[in-house]
């Protein structure tokens, strides 16, 4: 395949550079809204659904990017839309399970949830998996961004007499620096607001290319008739070809990918945590999946579809051997004029930048909450309940952003061996998602799921997955639904099904056998040599993990597959036994408010008192600043009655201008009522958080 170079003009470059600078300035402007880590990571939990929905569009589109879907659209037609229209199946689990759990439990990161639900060791393992997942995602983002911009670049250029060859990796390092800067200073509020602009831009750019393309080939009728029927079907072939098929996409994207994106992508979770309440989060998720994703399917795949139609109409214009990952840029150059092409490329860069920035913000949040803080507690530099040193935490967050930006670029080297970004992303989903997905799913929806089940899934499940990677024909082949075997990248998609099955199997069997494990552990503790026996089990488990790693990565067949698998299963039992022995777990205490079965309790904890579920109306009021240190807001008796509120209930007040999307708003608690109707008493604390404007009216809403 040919790598295209040097397309576009000087004007396009000027548009692109101006756009990048504008985004940098726009993003860093919002640094003033970062009063503390809560603002930096969660934007103060204040935004309305439409702002978050648009932000999710920008994040979602860029991760399932223009580049890879246009490539698949060019090669296979409308079936490139499959990944955008298979996300509804897990909506009930999300809207009424995971979303309220993460919001009401007031967790700051997914690993923190695992510590509260299971144990500190569970948090440790999940932190490792989460960071790998996020860094991998950042790597995919950078790879896509590099491939998108590459066709614009010359093969080489000269500065001060030095000839510099333009390479993909060189380009990725440069874009990584630009992205790192604005997320390092801007924080979550910057990400959300730049996403709003970027989301709109990329929707416009993608739809513009599609409609210009349809017009170019002579209108809708010509476009439709130019494409063969097999191209118009919205599904790929059931089980072939190996690089793109329906059954593989169902398991890799519809199941692993959807759950991965909705449930364990910390970047997306932080978006939902930035909504003002759970109801707004539900609206954002629903609107996004029902309407924005199908539109996004056209936005990202449309370039490939029209490129195909043009190549059928005029094969000289778009050669069949063009690199599929460059096809969007190539067709955009044909369809747009000078300057407009620069705008389209800027939109792609924007889309990719918004995803990467979201993920970098998420990795920083995990680093601060799940690595830095526990290490400082362990080193006895702070105590668990000490207040957060905000200046230090912000500094650590910014340095973490820089470090993970670098790691993300390094991850690109691993993905660059795949022929298309689509396949690289599929491999990533199929490999890293299943253990975390099972951990989150069973943790949130199955009360009986124990730390032994979780840790065995993470260690044992991953080991069995690695064996599948080493012996794909024997282990994944029987589950592959007849998809062809590609010896270089075997079962890129169907590996997801095998991985899900082994992780689920380990989780379910170990959890169901938990009583037996506990019985044997109790029995063992009476044995005077119990410590020595446990050390032997730890050594055995570590030895098996090492053996499996040697077999997989060293490609050495030390034992026959059956024996290796059997020993690995024994290792799973051993890990379950070790976890049951060492980890203290109180199922009553550690499931309360943290599973779908006790959401009501989680609500009460969130509020800090009994719920008041009487329905009231919102109140529009003027504000009066009073001198007080208390975090309470006081309304008149009449306004309290209108809102059906009681002192102690939670309240959200915001500027009445809806288009601000909640930017000027804050949360507080109702105080004792007064007698001045239409007036709310607020303090400097609320003014500082909400940045309210003098003489502007406020809208108050009782929460929950």
């Amino acid at each position: 395949m040919d790598q295209v170079h040097n397309i576009g003009s000087q004007l396009d470059w000027i548009v692109l550079v101006i756009y990048m600078i504008a985004m940098l300035l726009f993003g860093t402007y919002f640094a003033k809204y970062n009063k503390d880590t809560n603002d930096f990571f969660f934007g103060g939990r204040r935004f309305t659904w439409w702002l978050i929905a648009m932000s999710i569009v920008a994040t979602g589109i860029s991760s399932h990017s223009f580049v890879k879907y246009s490539a698949m659209g060019f090669k296979y037609g409308f079936s490139s839309s499959m990944s955008y229209m298979n996300d509804w199946f897990f909506v009930p689990f999300f809207l009424f399970g995971w979303l309220p759990i993460i919001v009401y439990s007031r967790i700051k990161s997914i690993p923190e949830y695992f510590e509260r639900r299971f144990s500190p060791s569970a948090r440790f393992f999940v932190t490792i998996l989460q960071l790998l997942y996020l860094v991998g995602y950042v790597g995919i983002g950078f790879l896509t961004m590099g491939k998108a911009i590459m066709p614009l670049m010359p093969e080489s250029f000269t500065i001060l007499g030095f000839q510099i060859h333009v390479t993909l990796m060189g380009l990725i390092w440069v874009t990584a620096v630009i992205t790192g800067i604005y997320i390092t200073f801007g924080g979550q509020t910057a990400v959300i607001f730049t996403d709003l602009v970027q989301g709109l831009m990329l929707l416009f750019a993608g739809l513009m290319i599609f409609f210009l393309g349809v017009s170019y080939v002579g209108g809708w009728h010509s476009f439709w008739n130019l494409l063969p029927a097999s191209w118009k079907v919205p599904f790929a072939g059931f089980n072939s070809p190996a690089e793109f098929n329906s059954v593989g996409t169902f398991w890799e994207d519809g199941i692993a990918g959807s759950v991965g994106f909705l449930f364990m992508n910390m970047g997306l979770i932080m978006r939902f945590m930035a909504t003002k309440n759970v109801h707004e989060g539900r609206k954002a998720a629903t609107i996004n999946i029902l309407f924005m994703l199908p539109i996004s399917a056209i936005v990202v795949g449309g370039g490939g579809w029209v490129a195909k139609a043009i190549s059928v109409m005029n094969p000289k214009l778009i050669p069949q051997n063009v690199n599929p990952d460059s096809v969007f840029v190539f067709v955009s150059n044909i369809l747009t004029g000078r300057g407009v092409f620069g705008f389209v490329i800027a939109a792609i860069a924007a889309a990719l930048m918004s995803t990467v920035s979201t993920l970098l913000n998420a990795t920083a949040a995990i680093w601060v909450n799940d690595v830095d803080k526990p290490i400082r507690i362990w080193l006895k530099k702070i105590k668990k309940d000490d207040p957060v040193d905000e200046n230090r935490a912000m500094s650590v967050a910014r340095w973490a952003t820089v470090a993970f930006t670098t790691l993300g670029v390094i991850a690109v080297y691993a993905f660059n061996s795949y022929p298309t970004v689509y396949q690289a992303h599929a491999f990533f989903h199929a490999t890293l998602t299943p253990p975390l997905m099972i951990a989150i799913f069973f943790g949130a929806f199955w009360k009986k799921f124990t730390p032994a089940g979780l840790i065995t899934t993470v260690i044992g499940g991953v080991t069995l997955m690695l064996l599948g990677f080493r012996y794909p024909l024997e282990l994944i082949g029987p589950l592959a639904h007849g998809t062809p075997y590609d010896p270089v990248h075997p079962f890129t998609y169907m590996a997801a099904l095998y991985n899900l099955i082994v992780c689920t199997g380990v989780a379910v069997i170990i959890t169901l056998a938990q009583k037996q494990f506990q019985k044997y552990v109790n029995h063992l503790k009476k044995n005077p040599n119990h410590s020595a026996i446990m050390i032997a089990l730890v050594i055995f488990s570590a030895a098996v993990v090492l053996l499996d790693l040697t077999i997989v990565f060293g490609k050495i067949d030390i034992l026959p597959l059956t024996a290796t698998y059997f020993i690995s299963l024994l290792m799973c039992v051993s890990i379950a036994f070790i976890t049951t022995y060492y980890v203290k777990y109180d199922p009553e205490k550690q499931t309360a408010g943290l599973t779908v079965w006790s959401i009501h309790k989680a609500k009460e904890w969130f509020k800090g008192s009994k719920l008041n579920e009487r329905e009231g109306e919102n109140a529009i009021v003027h504000f009066k600043l009073i001198d007080s240190e208390e975090d309470v807001i006081r309304f008149s008796h009449k306004d309290m009655h209108k809102m059906a509120a009681e002192p102690g209930d939670l309240v959200y007040i915001s500027d009445t201008r809806k288009w601000l999307g909640g930017l000027k708003s804050c949360h507080s608690v109702y105080g004792k009522p007064h007698d001045e109707d239409g007036i709310v008493y607020i303090t400097n604390l609320h003014m500082g958080k909400g940045l309210f404007v003098k003489d502007r009216m406020l809208e108050a809403e009782k929460e929950m």
Binding site: W88, F89, V91, P100, A229, V233, F250, I289, P294, W597
Partner: protein, 70 residues
């Protein structure tokens, strides 16, 4: 013209396979009382979730028919 294997079979696989997960989710949130059908707002969300599933079924169905016969 694409065969059943490349048109309706992926459709059926997606909505039967995915439908099992979807139905399990609906039943679970009802059983766990995470969705409270006494509340007007929750009843609204229940309808939205069911609507969403059939919205995509119909959407995909129309696209296949258009590809095969139009």
């Amino acid at each position: 013209m694409p065969s059943f294997f490349n048109s309706w079979l992926p459709f059926l696989y997606l909505y039967i396979g995915g439908g099992i997960f979807f139905l399990a989710g609906l039943l679970l949130i009802r059983k766990a009382k995470s969705i409270d059908m006494r509340l007007k707002r929750d009843r609204f969300w229940w309808k939205v979730m069911i609507f969403g599933f059939f919205y995509f079924v119909v959407f995909h169905g129309i696209l296949i028919i258009a590809a095969l016969y139009w």
